[in-house]
Symmetry: C2
Subunit: 228 residues, 2 copies
């Protein structure tokens, strides 16, 4: 059985990736991070998704990314904005960007892959509705594959683990459809940047998600405070 | 003044790199990690070196690398071996190898560089006396530079921070000489993998260090339990 490390944030994208790998008969080693997000809801959802998918192991690592500051997602002094009303999502790098976040996450995924002997690392990065994050682009992933091949004992001996990004060229609507097709537990996912009792429906992440479900013609199974 | 992030472990190599950058008139932003090493002596030395060099800021991040297991440096169930007596250091990847350690460390350095606005990241990696660690080779650093250029908001806007490795082609003796020339506080450094009151003088790290000082014709200012 192919062992796969999957970065599981508890969001729509990573949950879909994990469900797709499971549907392909792969054994899942989930990796989630507690990195000073403002709320623990996302992490709670990641653990629920992992249980639902029957992962072989779920590692939750506490990372001090928030200690460095610099993002509205980890720094309480920066407000999370509503999405631009003119639809210009993705034109500029937003304040919700966490410095080098995916670089740090993939580095830990490499360590985990080596320890458990995984052949692949599955990532929910997406270059279409990517909100301007530079570390979600295909050229970034390709560069990191070179690092993965050179960085580890595993890589030296038998080639590094393959970075697999099945969603990278999908629209949010494609992702919703792929999640439904793979029986992903979308009702357990969480995308809102604000993270109160119900999703806010107004931040950039909620806005992208709601547009995706609408375009796919699938009802979003989670609760919203407003649909803006 | 050029701002430089320097990964400071408290060892001979990173201390020399930091002292060289200071001698070049750069402003130092030190970054050290508490990653489940067996002893805190190395970290204590890193902080003392940082103070001695007058760094602008010293960030110590707690990383859960040890939680994943897989190395004698973080896993108490694996013994740290003596160096091979036949002098074959570097022929195989040793059990002291920590999975993806440098990949994780450089990822955090990228985040730190972006937050403080540093132009360079200085690393004490060394491909000569590298003990078989795959993540100390020039081709690894070159691949990571590509990631650095693509990963961050800083990289997208003005090119990623430059990864600088002044020791990469030096022998341990060259490093000792460079450290002396840059007035590095070598008396505050620590290299021993075992980390008791005095350095053991017998592990691979002590053995490489002692050979370096001997070849440079410089007395090692730290105390050894044995020179074995």
């Amino acid at each position: 059985m192919t062992k796969v490390v999957v970065l599981l944030s508890g969001g729509l994208d990573s949950t879909t990736v994990a469900a797709m790998a499971k549907a392909d008969g792969k054994e899942l080693y989930a990796l989630s991070f507690d990195y000073g997000q403002r709320h623990g809801k996302e992490l709670h959802c990641a653990l629920a998704v992992g249980r639902s998918l029957g992962v072989a192991r779920h590692e939750v690592l506490h990372l001090p990314l928030g200690a460095l500051g610099g993002s509205a997602l980890t720094d309480a002094s920066i407000d999370v904005p509503d999405a631009p009303t003119d639809g210009a999502i993705g034109d500029a790098i937003p304040v919700t960007y966490v410095p080098a976040r995916n670089t740090v996450f993939i580095a830990f995924a490499l360590a985990y892959a080596e320890v458990v002997g995984a052949d692949e690392i599955h990532l929910g990065v997406n270059a279409m509705d990517y909100s301007g994050y530079p570390d979600c682009r295909p050229e970034y992933i390709e560069a990191y594959q070179q690092v993965a091949d050179l960085a580890t004992k595993q890589g030296v001996e038998s080639g590094g683990p393959r970075l697999v990004t099945p969603l990278i060229h999908m629209t949010k609507a494609d992702i919703v459809r792929a999640g439904v097709a793979a029986n992903a537990p979308l009702d357990l996912t969480w995308s809102c940047y604000r993270g109160e009792g119900a999703a806010c429906g107004r931040c950039e992440s909620c806005t992208l998600r709601l547009k995706g479900f609408a375009a796919a013609g699938v009802p979003d199974p989670i609760e919203y405070a407003t649909t803006g």
